[in-house]
């Protein structure tokens, strides 16, 4: 009884809507979860990974602190970042225009590593290697993208991007050669 009158009626809107619905459904197999970039992963032991992070903090700490965490300025190349309830450790200070490989791993529960278009699930027991090349004007923010408990929403880390130092960049050359 409700349909004696209607604002949108007739065969054309019906046909167009049907076509649009079919197009959306046929598009299913091409949905984006199929073409997300896969990053290399390798198995780790929590202790060994924590040792690598600690060594990096010890060798390259800037002396500064942020939110009670050391700020670290590692050379270009391999950088270790660990995720745990509810922080990314340590705070990274990276040089603009340089190439880094972030080795990210969770040492307790499932977390997510999200920065820019990159979204990686951090399964405990494995590290993921994500290439990272900050630009001069970037202020990259790393967020946990998988609910991990009470302070999940606060699990955010800002990467400090500083101008590249003038010194010749041996580390980058060495790292590139190693690959």
């Amino acid at each position: 009884m409700a349909d004696a009158m209607a604002a949108i009626r007739g065969r054309l809107p019906l046909l167009l809507t049907a076509l649009a619905l079919v197009a959306l459904m046929v598009g299913m197999p091409t949905w984006r979860y199929d073409d997300r970039p896969e990053f290399p992963r390798y198995a780790i032991s929590t202790d060994a990974f924590e040792a690598k992070v600690d060594a990096m903090v010890r060798d390259h700490s800037t002396g500064a602190e942020e939110d009670g965490m050391p700020v670290v300025h590692p050379p270009p190349g391999d950088v270790y970042l660990l995720a745990r309830r509810w922080q990314f450790y340590p705070v990274l200070e990276l040089e603009a225009g340089r190439s880094y490989r972030l080795h990210v791993a969770s040492v307790d529960v499932l977390h997510g590593f999200h920065v820019g278009d990159v979204d990686v699930l951090l399964v405990p027991g494995a590290a993921t290697v994500v290439p990272f090349n900050p630009g001069a004007s970037d202020r990259p923010v790393i967020q946990c993208s998988e609910f991990c408990g009470l302070r999940h929403n606060r699990m955010t880390a800002w990467v400090r991007v500083v101008p590249a130092t003038a010194a010749p960049d041996q580390h980058q050359g060495a790292a590139a050669g190693a690959r």
Binding site: I8, A18, M25, Q143
Partner: protein
């Protein structure tokens, strides 16, 4: 026949109300009243919990609470979200299913006993949720869609509530209505989607490996089914729009075949849901994206077409808008708030500060549609109509514009300073923008709460009255 502008101005005279009045037998009337009470009552519970939330954060007042307030804050927050976002919606589905069954079975449904059984289970489930909360049991987990207190009885409460709502839905499907009827077909379609959501919860429960961390367990337990439930809510809202428009203007936004197509489209899109559990690892990334994409692809077009229809309809009747009709107010404000939320949705990031602006506007749109149908159809059919007048007008406008203000303010706050922790040159400008947006969200939130309180007060008073008396 349906040109009475304000069917609720006097006795329920419109064809809609008479038709429902004739088919609502006494047992079905009791069920409808019960589900309506549970729906509106759950909003009242959510409101009381919100009050406790504020208390537990206020010095001096927090000492009056019989619970350790640090942890009780999160306990109350979880149950507040569950009652305002889950119980209110599924209880509304229960009420809508009874209404649809009354007509489709002409008052004499097959499997009649499922109705009262479902209602009792629904009430028992909700009571269990309140009990666990007041006993301050279990750890609070603010995971997506259905936050929980990690206590066996809390999960049990949710399960009992879920099954309770499923029973009148199954009864409706056993008494299939006319395929061209707005309420009968619309609610049946939403009912199928609801059963699919329950199936997702069950599959997830069985697939989640023992020993999974509790946060990940809760998140992935409710992730898939939670997404499917949004199809149910949106479908019910579209059913409400189509009905409210006819009540307010005697004209529907879209014709019967297009309505059928949109509702059927919603159902078809949720069908892959249960399959995802077997094609993607339940704890994996693809599982997460599969359901997000389901929402993006399946839940954009149908409401958009309906919104277009409502706009055309409003344009055709411009100058004669019945500002006092709750049907009209519910319709126009719901469409407005939901449309704004939909537009905000296209800016969504992973955990952007703009995310809440989208969710709250969309939820506000659904709430307005449900409030509209409750005031314009369910209460009058029960012989408990709210007197149309300034207060009903105020209730809808306060809630609607409050929600709008809140969401726009939140969106501006997000747009102003997303990943900006260290202050730069822009700090001065930033703080002005922040101040404006904070003022907007503050005022908007307060106004919306006032509107919500008015609705609960009106509806609950009528529903609780011993005798069915209009006005």
């Amino acid at each position: 026949m349906l040109h009475s502008r304000d069917p609720l101005a006097g006795a329920p005279a419109s064809a809609w109300l008479t038709a429902y009045d004739a088919s609502l037998t006494a047992p079905l009337r009791r069920e409808l009243r019960g589900w309506s009470l549970l729906a509106v009552g759950s909003l009242a519970v959510a409101g009381v919990l919100a009050l406790l939330l504020v208390m537990s954060r206020t010095p001096k007042l927090q000492d009056l609470l019989p619970w350790p307030w640090e942890s009780f804050f999160y306990t109350a927050l979880v149950t507040h979200v569950v009652f305002s976002f889950v119980v209110w919606y599924v209880a509304f589905l229960g009420a809508a299913a009874v209404l649809a069954t009354a007509r489709s079975a002409a008052g004499r449904p097959r499997l009649a006993a499922l109705g009262p059984a479902g209602l009792w289970l629904g009430v028992a489930g909700a009571a269990l949720l309140i009990g666990v909360t007041l006993a301050d049991q279990g750890e609070a987990s603010l995971n997506n869609y259905v936050p929980v207190l990690s206590h066996p009885l809390y999960y049990a409460g949710l399960a009992i509530l879920g099954v309770g709502v499923a029973l009148p839905v199954v009864r409706l499907l056993a008494n299939p209505g006319r395929i061209g009827d707005t309420v009968e077909f619309g609610v049946a379609a939403c009912g199928v989607a609801y059963l699919v959501a329950l199936l997702c919860f069950v599959i997830a429960w069985m697939l989640l490996p023992p020993g999974t961390d509790i946060a990940a367990f809760n998140e992935r337990l409710f992730w898939g089914g939670g997404h499917v439930l949004q199809f149910v809510n949106t479908g019910l809202m579209m059913m409400a729009w189509q009905s409210l428009a006819v009540m307010a203007f005697g004209e529907a936004p879209v014709d019967r075949r297009l309505y059928w197509l949109l509702m059927a489209g919603l159902v078809v899109f949720v069908l892959p849901g249960p399959i995802f559990y077997f094609t993607f690892d339940i704890l994996g990334l693809a599982h997460r994206y599969a359901f997000t994409d389901l929402l993006w692809y399946g839940l954009s077009l149908p409401p958009a077409v309906m919104i277009l229809g409502v706009f055309v309809l409003l344009w055709r009747w411009r100058g004669t808008w019945p500002w006092r009709s709750p049907a009209f107010l519910g319709l126009i404000l719901s469409v407005l708030v939901f449309a704004v939320g939909g537009v905000f949705g296209f800016f969504l990031g992973v955990s952007d500060t703009r995310t809440p602006s989208h969710y709250h506007a969309v939820i506000g749109g659904v709430n307005l549609a449900f409030m509209g149908l409750m005031v314009a159809l369910m209460l009058p059919v029960l012989g408990r109509a709210v007197k149309t007048g300034r207060w009903v007008w105020a209730q809808f406008c306060l809630y609607g514009f409050g929600q709008l203000l809140w969401s726009v303010g939140m969106f501006l706050a997000g747009a102003a300073g997303v990943p900006r922790k260290t202050a730069g040159v822009e700090q001065g400008l930033d703080s002005v923008g922040k101040l404006v947006s904070m003022a907007m969200t503050g005022t908007g939130g307060l106004i919306a709460v006032l509107g919500g309180i008015l609705f609960i007060w009106f509806a609950l008073r009528r529903l609780l009255a011993r005798e069915a008396i209009d006005g």
